[in-house]
Subunit: 147 residues, 2 copies
DNA sequence: CTCCATAGTGAATTTGAATTTCATTATCAT
DNA sequence: ATGATAATGAAATTCAAATTCACTATGGAG
């Protein structure tokens, strides 16, 4: 974590940036917070530790982390941007439309089929997004009982 | 097309709605326009035919078509809502990050693997979104030449 | 160390697509 | 025809996100 922050600061310096306490705090909170946190979530968590940090800095820092490749921007269609660490391996998402639970999965066969599809279209893929929406186990069971 | 509008009007009546000239024009333009049109695109097209139609009516009508199941809302992450007809069969999208070209594909093996994944997680899927981002054939070629 | 160009900050403001409001008009069952 | 109410369009509002700007902090040059 400390070495991670050091590495990030090096990269920031490499592109002509300086260090700052606020930004370091945002980065630390981000990597300590669970995945799929909204900007609001992150801002709350940061400001709980240091009230003086402004929303703008949280927003700017997350954009920066995304640019450097450390964070991924997510959008599950609820009008809120979410972020997750890009250090863990690639995965896709199951999003519960009832309770908002987001779970993750990996399916190499889907990944490879996507590559095939892209190739067939002469398309050079750089990323993809696969979100499956529906009801999580809990909410599916609860829904059945209501009938 | 005419019978489609009639069918839609019947469904609208069934839920206590009335008909209107403006709405009929929006619906007609929507089904005549290519897929993945933004709300702005649709509003422009409608107003080209009839200046008096307000943006609000275009927006409301598209939301209504989505609710009735005739239109699908799309979001390719550029901050603009897009709509496509839901009468054609399901497909996913290849989105060029350079020129904006959106192409479509169907891959039943991916669809079926998604079902499997959902089932494994006790998840009851209602829909999914798979977008592959990258460079279309044209832009990939153009990019190579620049190096 | 001191200087100082410039990156970073946070409060406040702005942006911009989408939605909502509201007074008016259009639809349609009776 | 009448009246209840759905639909309209201009304008106002919403809201997350981005931007502005006066000020502060950083860090390389000398
Ligand atoms: Mn995730
Ligand atoms: Mn499509
Ligand atoms: Zn759930
Ligand atoms: Zn292209």
């Amino acid at each position: 974590m400390d070495s991670l922050l050091k590495r990030i600061n090096l990269e920031i310096a490499a592109i002509g940036g300086k260090r700052s306490r606020s930004r370091a705090q945002v980065i630390e909170v981000f990597f300590r917070t669970g995945p799929h946190a909204t900007l609001e979530d992150l801002a709350q968590a940061v400001r709980k530790r240091n009230r003086t940090v402004g929303y703008a800095t949280v927003y700017r820092t997350m954009k920066l982390l995304a640019k450097l490749g450390y964070a991924k921007e997510l959008d599950f269609g609820d009008g809120l941007k979410r972020y997750e660490s890009n250090l863990e391996s690639h995965h896709d998402h199951l999003v519960c439309q009832e309770c908002g639970l987001v779970s993750e999965f990996q399916e190499p066969r889907i990944e490879s089929l996507q590559e095939q599809v892209a190739k067939q279209h002469g398309f050079l893929p750089t990323m993809h997004r696969l979100d499956i929406y529906g009801l999580c186990r809990q909410c599916a069971v609860a829904g059945k009982k209501e009938n």
